[in-house]
């Protein structure tokens, strides 16, 4: 399993968009860069589409549901999780892409 890298956003100096962001999940080759990741409630995860096709990252997990819509290649979006618990994150377009975000208190 590959470890999540530090966000490229910080490296690129786009500091406004990176407030609170400390971890990035990438999507190259129709795969999440991590199957599972643990973060604290209120922390932010960045979803970076470093793949060659659009993705549609989302979750229907209660308390942490979200939908990024169609995210084109090169796009990066932050998601802040507000409730503790396991969040099942998928790509709506690509059903083989599945991961769990474990949100702790």
């Amino acid at each position: 399993m590959r470890l999540p890298s530090l966000t490229l956003v910080m490296l690129l100096g786009l500091s406004v968009g990176a407030l609170g962001a400390n971890m990035t999940i990438m999507q190259k080759g129709r795969m999440f860069s991590s199957e599972s990741i643990t973060i604290k409630k209120g922390e932010t995860l960045t979803f970076l589409n470093d793949d060659s096709v659009p993705h549609n990252i989302m979750s229907t997990s209660p308390g942490n549901d979200f939908n990024l819509g169609s995210q084109p290649p090169g796009a990066s979006t932050d998601v802040t999780f507000k409730e503790a618990g396991d969040v099942a994150v998928i790509c709506a377009i690509h059903p083989r892409m599945k991961m769990t975000v474990k949100v702790t208190e």
Partner: protein, 359 residues
């Protein structure tokens, strides 16, 4: 419907002010806080040399079976009989093979399927070829695995219309089925679960055979024409087919609205708040494709030439249409090359022997 939280509105406002883009916030999904979307332009270019492209399409050497339904020859033998047995439909006139027939590339050769009472169904009967590698089942992905899929059409009122309890009662009255179930599932009762496992086991053994394309991939330069070789490169580059039809089975099982002018919302019924899932259908594999027309989820295109034309034009423009769909600017020669390539994915399929059914 959930309203966006103040935090979401602030984040969106920042995005518009600073970056001029809007982070997508659905009206339906919104408990987690979604920030702005930034466009970093960090995507690397994939290696598109022919050798590196070829490496992505090598046939697997083994059929995958799930841990909770491993292969046995006894399951296969039982599953094959059930697959071809018309008595699993309420009318005793339809079997799985009625719509997924080896004679038509494991589909039915019709635009849309025919169900109970000879009524036309809404969608094209998909092939079962290479279903063992499927991630999710049905055009709209409503069933999670092949065992669930096996029971779906049997019970569907519009298809075989057979209540599962009635089916098990009927099979119990056919004496020769009992020892077959006992051999396949020792110590287990005849049930919907074991029936589904047997049918799924048989279906997993329906695998596309070696096609000229496979010989070319493995080094025989004479296996396919120069036209088809150019088509393979186009398939992976200018025509962008491989964005969805990828890997040896030519699908990633993804859902895309490819702009066919159909009212059917497809995957959208099961993922209602997601724009890109409206009118989206599962990407089919392309093995044995020459035997599987008419094409598309609605059977609306009769030939591979018509399919390539559709992708070249880009289909109906609407919010749900895949961002990958756009006019491609293919030349007449490009289109002919693509069709020539697609035809190399069809094998000389061996005939399938019909089983003798239990009485």
């Amino acid at each position: 419907m959930r309203k966006p939280s103040p935090g979401q509105l602030v984040a969106t406002a920042i995005a518009i002010t600073v970056f001029g883009v809007v982070g997508f916030v659905s009206g339906t999904y919104g408990s987690a806080l979604v920030g702005e979307t930034r466009h970093l332009g960090v995507v690397g270019k994939a290696d598109s040399s022919v050798d590196s492209l070829k490496a992505r399409y090598r046939r697997p050497t083994m059929i995958p079976f799930p841990k909770d339904n491993l292969y046995t020859p006894q399951k296969l033998a039982l599953g094959k009989k059930l697959y071809f047995d018309t008595r699993i439909s309420v009318s005793s006139a339809q079997s799985c093979a009625s719509c997924h027939s080896p004679a038509f590339g494991w589909a039915d050769g019709l635009a849309v399927g025919v169900g109970f009472g000879m009524a036309q169904l809404g969608r094209h009967s998909p092939t079962i070829i290479n279903a063992a590698w499927g991630e999710i089942f049905m055009w709209d992905g409503r069933l999670a695995n092949l065992e669930e899929q096996a029971l779906g059409p049997i019970q569907s009122p519009g298809e075989m219309n057979m209540p599962i309890d009635q089916l098990m009662e009927r099979l119990n009255t056919i004496p020769e089925y009992k020892p077959l179930f006992a051999a396949a599932f020792p110590g287990e009762a005849m049930s919907a679960k074991t029936l589904a496992k047997a049918i799924a086991t048989y279906e997993r053994t329906v695998v596309s055979q070696r096609a000229p394309f496979d010989d070319w991939i493995e080094g025989n330069e004479k296996a396919i024409s120069e036209e088809a070789k150019r088509g393979f490169v186009l398939f992976n580059t200018k025509a962008e087919c491989a964005s969805c039809h990828e890997g040896w089975n030519f699908t990633n099982d993804g859902f895309q609205d490819i702009g066919l002018p159909s009212e059917d919302v497809g995957r959208g019924k099961y993922v209602p708040g997601v724009v890109k899932m409206q009118h989206a259908f599962k990407t089919p594999g392309l093995r044995e494709i020459s035997r599987r027309g008419p094409y598309m989820h609605d059977g609306s295109l009769a030939t591979l030439e018509a399919v390539v034309d559709h992708y070249d034009k880009g289909g109906v423009e609407r919010a749900s249409r895949s961002d990958l769909m756009k006019p491609l600017g293919l030349t007449v020669q490009d289109k002919a090359d693509l069709v020539a390539f697609l035809k190399t994915l069809t094998s000389e399929l061996d005939p399938t022997a019909m089983p003798v059914l239990p009485r």
